[in-house]
Symmetry: C2
Subunit: 300 residues, 2 copies
């Protein structure tokens, strides 16, 4: 049970955190802060937050836990705005999709108070946004990656972890650099590749004809190209080094496949395709096994 | 109403064609032919076909319409095997995912009888196969692209089109070269890209960790990498020229994005991402509009 929880940004991520904590009875009071008066009024109307704070000073008074769920590029400015009001007992976390840049911005903004900031990243999302998109179930069974800093007290990391566990999430820990390398490979690169394909096709003279014949495979492959361009611009830039590394590895992979295709090397192509199919099948099986916990077996 | 329909290969594609024709009462008799005695026995047991032919000679006697729904690399050999038994009134079509290579193989196999072959490609599929996967609904509302040849009689093209329409499909017509260029862009390239990404990740030393954090975006992006490696090796090679062209365009696109990222050009990145998001949204809206025919509006 946490006392006062403050959430900067009550859209899908912050609003769902609020709803999940409320349902679990895990927060005495939830206070929202945000730039859009309309969104804040809507969050209050929907019962997502108990109060809307008029200023960071008001919000931070007596806060136990603060979640920054605003676009990642705003994290530094938000931290700077709360620093003058940051009480010694308050723990601050975030929900940003990149971590090295957030940690750097936090160090610049908080200075010697950096120990009060525990970086985090909930691995959950949808293509909707705003307070109306917030649901209490968003984090059930989902991973939340915390990337604790050497300066963090164990009890402060645990306060953040406990709040996410109350939302139904599973806690994982990585270093900020590990986190960014992992998500560059399995999330940021696929987004860039999907955007690249749709833009490539849209710019061809016969784009209309091409889209006419695109079917369900194309639809799934490009689903993530429906995501917010501003958000993914920020993520791409924030995780530039790791993403460039993954992109270069992928370009080398494609260049290899191109050579196999140009020389009609069917055996080599099939070997790559088969390895991919096999690896993906193992991954799906592992996911499905994880979604069927052993202690539920008796209830089947 | 067609009289005798012969289907080479009664898996998902051929079996579903049979089931749909039967349900529509659009074929007097359906005869199956295939290399696997087990699959043929199963097709008979499931009622997908009325008879299993022991030889091409037996199958082709009195046939009105023949569908070749076997792996595309076998098309030439199947056509060669039926040529000695091909009666003047029989029309042959296929279901191959590539068309220029099929037409070339058909010309080599059939020679002056090429006019009796009407190439086709139903744009429907699933990740399952074999007779048990066959369903009568597979083609409802789906496109079937016919790529008629100059030698085809209009009535023969219409016989093929009518059979597919009886299955609930919508008939489109392209030249074989147009067909292959279109599907290289919207289907064959995405498959290669998805296989490439999964293989790339699976070969990294920390693959296990990476897969652990892959989420729903990755799952959708790579769904088509779960497809048959043999089938996609054949398609890649069969449509090599067009696929190389699309792959080169995509490599140029990625190289451009890499430069934007390396120089931290956020405006350029956002412009590509936004163009892709916009194009995809228009495409999805067009699909959804097409799935809601105007003449159904009154029943809403």
């Amino acid at each position: 049970m946490t006392g006062k929880v403050v959430i900067f940004g009550v859209g899908l991520i912050g609003g769902s955190f609020a709803r999940a904590l409320k349902r679990a009875g895990a927060a005495a009071k939830i206070v929202g802060v945000g730039r859009s008066p309309e969104a804040m009024a809507r969050a209050l109307e929907l019962g997502i937050v108990d109060e809307v704070a008029a200023s960071p000073a008001e919000a931070m008074r007596g806060a136990d836990l603060v979640l920054i769920a605003a676009p990642v590029a705003q994290t530094g400015a938000i931290l700077a705005s709360i620093l003058p009001h940051l009480e010694p007992g308050t723990v601050v976390t975030d929900a940003g999709s990149t971590k090295s840049d957030v940690v750097q911005a936090a160090r610049e903004a908080l200075g010697v108070r950096i120990g009060q900031f525990v970086p985090g990243h909930p691995i959950a999302g949808r293509e909707t946004n705003g307070p109306d998109a917030a649901i209490p179930d968003l984090y059930i069974g989902k991973k939340v990656v915390l990337t604790p800093l050497p300066e963090n007290a164990a009890a402060d990391v645990e306060r953040v972890a406990a709040a996410w566990r109350a939302c139904g999430a599973l806690i994982h820990k990585l270093s900020p650099a590990e986190h960014d390398k992992v998500f560059a490979a399995v999330s940021h690169l696929p987004h860039l590749l999907a955007y690249a394909l749709v833009d490539d096709i849209a710019n061809k003279p016969h784009a209309k004809q091409l889209f006419q014949y695109a079917a369900s495979g194309f639809r799934d492959f490009t689903r993530i190209a429906g995501s917010s361009p501003e958000m993914w611009r920020d993520i791409s830039l924030a995780n530039r080094e790791a993403l460039l590394g993954e992109l270069d590895a992928y370009l080398a992979q494609l260049t290899g496949l191109r050579a196999m295709l140009a020389s009609s090397d069917g055996a080599a192509l099939e070997s790559v395709y088969a390895n991919a199919q096999h690896a993906r099948r193992e991954w799906i099986e592992a996911i499905e096994a994880a979604e069927t916990p052993a202690d539920h077996d008796s209830a089947k």
